[in-house]
Symmetry: C3
Subunit: 203 residues, 3 copies
């Protein structure tokens, strides 16, 4: 179970970091900016979750190879990213990975808040914060209005429904691993459908 949650975290971290790196490269930032946006996007949501829940040490300071991997990824990206961005399939690939990261981060936030005994609504919000706020902080640091606040294909909403899928599965099975997988699956599928059919919120 512990192994599963760590694997989930690594997938989420790398995919989110890539979106931060792409954003930083678009803005013409140097390695410091690229690494910073990679870190902010990948660790921002989980850090805010840990601040809110009062957890110490923070997950990325306890696992020092996480920030080391992101530094390697940031250096590597400066060599290969121009090629990547020109390939038409890359943006789609990032969107798919990002949806997986969204699901895995939301699952970890929901699971942790649930274990700490928070109310289900607050627990679901913690899932959304963990999944979404890395991207929000990336956009704020890049001097943009956060993408997820705008009227585009649903994103945070997928994480919110995914978090409730975790809670419902947990209520039915009392099995954290199964509930985490349910959260990731629901979030991922909803996000893919949202992109495919341009689903937006009516309000």
């Amino acid at each position: 179970m512990n192994t599963l949650i760590k694997t989930i975290e690594v997938i989420g971290i790398i995919t989110f970091a890539v979106t931060g790196i792409v954003e930083a490269r678009k803005k013409g930032m140097d390695l410091v900016g690229v690494y910073s946006l990679a870190m902010i996007t990948a660790f921002g949501g989980g850090t805010l979750r840990d601040f809110i829940l009062g957890r110490h040490p923070l997950f990325w300071t306890a696992h020092y190879w996480y920030p080391v991997i992101l530094l390697g990824l940031s250096v590597l990206s400066s060599i290969v990213i121009k090629d990547m961005l020109n390939r038409s399939g890359f943006v789609t690939f990032v969107l798919v990975l990002d949806a997986l990261g969204l699901g895995s981060f939301s699952a970890s936030g929901t699971s942790l808040a649930n274990q700490l005994g928070y109310h289900p609504f607050v627990t679901a919000l913690m899932g959304v914060v963990t999944g979404v706020f890395g991207g929000v902080l990336r956009d704020i640091a890049g001097n943009e209005i956060p993408y997820v606040f705008q009227r585009t294909e649903i994103y945070a909403t997928c994480a919110f429904i995914g978090s409730w899928a975790y809670l419902a599965t947990m209520w039915a099975t009392s099995n954290d691993v199964v509930s985490v997988i349910a959260c990731i699956a629901v979030t991922f599928i909803l996000r893919m459908l949202a992109i495919r059919y341009k689903i937006r919120l009516p309000l």
Copy 2:
């Protein structure tokens, strides 16, 4: 006393959320953006205060109906807000409510820091942070220079003087409830005077 502080919090939360909702609607955000700005504006100052003072659980995670109310308010706003914004009295109404929220949030921050034994100057700053930083974070998330940093009618200054009014009343009476009311009254009256007579800082 506990009831009073909670009532104060609810008034502040709803009024601040409304200013976040108005800002989000102006920027054409969808429900996620509206709810996020409502949450950031209403809970941002108190969250930063709790982070700085090391208080856990955060006030809005312990009272799950606070974020539930804001979700209801956000949904409701998408139906009624266009009508509201067109009414000339609505902006004035929001300004009055906002001044009340500023006073009540500053009072809660000052009261908590004072109980924890911080130095009066730091205590007064905590009052200002609690009252003002929700709006600062709302403006940052909306990609604006924070309104309160600009040369307009005094706002943070009202909260700062209100916090000292709390401290002075507390020193004279040792009564938290009376001091909270003094803080709210001083902050509110100063802010109303500032708007009415366009009082700005000379520096």
Copy 3:
């Protein structure tokens, strides 16, 4: 040793506050904005470090004369800063002071994380966060893309190498004071060379 670290902190705080004040004055902010940017720039990095490391009370709430000094500095600046900005030597003077502040803040962050037993890589990152994030938050609050993320003369990189100089010296001498001085010296000299020879990152 304790005296040295406090002296270092005061130098860093004042120099960073000045860069915040200059930024706020450039944007036409009033005293509230000036004081807020002074506080954010001077205390932002250390506050984020304390949040991440879970340290309480925050250094600037425990030393109430720090924010009092910054208020005095902010008031004073409104009288003298226009004269200062027109003198050609002032910008250079600020750059030199800022490099010293960068070194001293990075040293304090590295020293604290090292004492708490964090991994050297995370410790070095804590040095960079402490040294650099005050400026990052200042730029975000001023609605700019953070200066240090852009392709300019190396800044965060100096702090990162300086932090490793601390760790190397600590490993060799086990003396915190000597290691702090090594960190400040390496960071300061690198930053001065970077400005003089326009050293940028190749990536």
